[in-house]
Assembly symmetry: C2
Homo-oligomer: 351 residues x 2
C-alpha cells in the first residue's frame, strides 16, 4: 500500500496522542518510525507502533514520563528513562551526548529504564546532522546464542554509527550483532520459506533451516560467530551493565511480555565532536575523498555499483518523500489493527 | 619449538636495543609481542619483529622517536606518533586515553604517524587492567574489498575491547573486520590447502578458494558482508580521517613497502572510566553475573563449554607462562632470520 509520509506521520501522531503522549513526544516518535519506514527498514518502523501503544495503554511504558539526567560528569551522563518510550528516552540521550561532546570532545550517555528504541541508526544520524560522529546501541531480551550454546543468552543487540560527509547525507551503518535480525526469520516463516543454515540453531544447538522454530525452539546465531558474540557483549556492557538497566534475561520482551510491566531496556550513545578535533571542512573533504574512491573502485563481475553504508537507505528515503512509502502487507495489517484498537479511520488505510 | 616467555622476551629486547631503541621502549615492545604469542595469536606476535626491525634499520620507523601530544581537549587527545614503532605510539596513546577518561569519564585519543601496532587487544587490555573499559582500533593498507567490489579498498581494520570483571582476567575481544585475517590465508597457502568460499574474492570479485591468489590477485571479504565493511569504515574514520593519518591506500604496507618510508598508520583508543560512573564493585558483580550465566547456559550438542571472549587466550597465556610458549615453525623461521640479521645467537634458537 502506497502512503505519503505526511499521512503516515499524521496517523502515528494521532494514535500516540490518544495513548496519552504530549504532542512533542508524539511528533518525535512518529518521526523516528516514519523515517525508518522511509529508509525501507520496515521491521523497525511503524509496524511496531501497535506494540508500543499496547504497552503504553498497559502501563509498562509511561506516556507522560520525562527522562531525566540522573548523574553526570564532564563527558558522561547516566539517564533514567523513567519508563518512557525508547524513542523519547533515546532522543533525549543522544542530545545529551551531543552536548557533552561539544564541551569535551566526546560524550558517553547511558540510559536505563527505557524500552525498545526502534532503529539505532535514527539516533546516530541525529548526531551526524549536527556535524558530530554518532554511535547508538541497545540491549534487548535474549534471542541470540553464544558460540557453543543452544539457548539465547544475549539480545541481537543493535549497533549504529553515522558520520557527516561533504555530500548530502551522512554515512550510516545500522546493524544487528546477530547473523540476521529476528524479523527476517519471522518474514521467512510467514512466506513458508526455508532459511540458510547460518541464521539459527535449534533447541539442541544444531543449525536449522525451518524458520518456524524461532523464537520458541531456536535461537539466532551471532554475526560472524565469536565476533558478533563479542560485540554484543560490549554493547550489553555499555548499554546495561554500566547504566543500571536490566541485563540479558532480566530484559523483558517489548512485544511479548505482559504490557503492564516495564522492560527496562538499556542503551548507550556516544558522540564525537569533529569541530573540537579537526576543522570540519577538512574532515568532510577527507571523508568524501575516501568514499568517492571506494565508490569508483573496480566492481565485481555482475555488480555495477558499490554503496557507502546508508546510501541505499537515503536514496529510498528521497523516493519515499517524493512518491510515498510502499508499505509491505505485514505493516499494513499491523497499522489496521492499531487503527481498530484506537478507533482511528484514516482514509488511506481503508480496505 | 618450546621457549620460555622470559627467553623470548630477552631476545626481543636485545634485538630492539641493537636496532637503536631505548631500553624502556624495547621492553614495552617485547612485552606486546610476547604477550601476543602467549595468547596464541602468533600472526601478530614476535613473528613480526623481523619486519619491524627491517623498517627500523631502513629508517621508515624511527628508533628514538618520542610520540607527543599534538593537541588536546577535556576528553580527547591527538598524538603525533613521530614515526615511532606502533607498539610505542599505541601504548603512549592508550595511557593518554586512560588519563582523559579518569578526568572526564570517557577519553578518545587518535594517533597519526604511527605504524602497525600488532594485536589491538594488548592496548584494550592495558585499560582494563586499570579498571577501565578499553577500546583499540587501527587502519591498515587496503587488503579488503567492499561488497560489490573486486579490489581492496580498506584494511582488515582491527577492533578490540576489554572490560574488567570480578574474575582474574578481563573480557577481551580482538578481531579483524575482514572475514578472516590475511595471516590465515597465508597459512592455508603455506599448507597448500583450499580455503572456504567466503574468505576472499579473485581479481574479478568472484569467490575464490585458492589462497595463493592473495594478496596480488585477490582481496579479503569483509566479515558478515556489509557489516564488516561498515565497521571498517568507522574504524578508518576514527583512526585516520579524524587524526590526520594516511587514509586507505595512502597507508603503506608495514611489511612490503620500502623500509625507508613511513607507513603513517592511524589508530584510535577509547577508554571509559567505570569508577566515574558506577561503583566498580557493583560493575564487576554485574559483569561477573552476566558471564557466569552465559557460561552456565545449555550447550549445543557436541560442545561442552561456552567461552567468554578472551578466556581461551588468557588460559593459553597462563600455560605459556608456566610451561613455555610452543612457537609454530613460521615464527621460528622468522626469529632465526632476525637473529642472523642482528648477529644474535640465543641458545634456545639454535638449529
Amino acid at each position: 500500500m502506497l502512503v505519503s509520509s505526511r499521512d503516515l506521520e499524521s496517523f502515528c501522531v494521532q494514535a500516540l496522542l490518544k495513548a496519552g503522549l504530549v504532542e512533542s513526544d508524539a511528533r518525535l516518535t512518529a518521526d523516528v518510525l516514519v523515517t525508518t519506514d522511509a529508509w525501507g527498514v520496515f521491521t523497525h518502523g511503524t509496524k511496531n507502533l501497535c506494540g508500543y501503544i499496547r504497552r503504553l495503554r498497559g502501563g509498562g511504558i509511561r506516556a507522560t514520563a520525562k527522562p531525566r539526567i540522573e548523574r553526570e560528569g564532564p563527558a558522561w551522563t547516566i539517564i533514567d528513562g523513567e519508563g518512557a518510550l525508547g524513542t523519547v528516552a533515546s532522543t533525549f540521550a543522544m542530545r545529551a551526548a551531543v552536548t557533552k561532546a561539544k564541551a569535551a570532545g566526546i560524550g558517553y550517555v547511558g540510559v536505563h529504564n527505557s524500552c525498545h528504541f526502534g532503529a539505532a541508526g535514527y539516533y546516530a544520524a541525529l548526531a551526524a546532522h549536527e556535524n558530530l560522529i554518532g554511535v547508538a546501541m541497545s540491549n534487548d531480551t535474549p534471542t541470540m546464542t553464544a558460540p557453543g550454546g543452544s539457548k539465547p543468552v544475549l539480545g541481537s543487540n543493535p549497533f549504529a554509527f553515522a558520520a557527516p560527509t561533504g555530500e548530502k547525507h551522512p554515512i550510516l551503518l545500522d546493524m544487528a550483532t546477530s547473523a540476521v535480525a529476528g524479523g527476517k526469520v519471522f518474514a521467512a516463516a510467514a512466506l513458508g520459506k526455508p532459511i540458510p543454515e547460518n541464521w539459527i540453531v535449534d533447541a539442541d544447538g544444531r543449525p536449522a533451516t525451518d524458520p518456524k522454530l524461532f523464537p520458541d525452539s531456536a535461537a539466532l546465531l551471532p554475526m560472524a560467530g565469536h565476533k558478533g558474540y563479542g560485540l554484543a557483549l560490549l554493547i550489553e556492557i555499555l548499554s546495561a551493565v554500566l547504566t543500571g538497566a536490566a541485563v540479558t534475561r532480566q530484559v523483558l520482551s517489548w512485544s511479548f511480555a505482559d504490557p503492564s510491566l516495564a522492560t527496562n531496556h538499556g542503551a548507550a550513545f556516544i558522540a564525537v565532536d569533529i569541530i573540537s578535533i579537526m576543522p570540519p571542512n577538512v574532515f568532510k573533504q577527507r571523508v568524501t575523498e575516501m568514499i568517492q574512491e571506494i565508490r569508483q573502485s573496480p566492481k565485481a563481475i555482475g555488480c555495477d555499483r558499490i554503496f557507502v553504508p546508508g546510501e541505499m537507505e537515503w536514496e529510498r528515503r528521497e523516493r519515499a518523500l517524493a512518491q510515498g512509502i510502499e508499505l509491505p502487507p505485514d505493516v499494513v495489517t499491523s497499522l489496521r489493527t492499531l487503527a481498530g484498537e484506537m478507533d482511528l479511520r484514516p482514509d488511506w488505510l481503508r480496505d
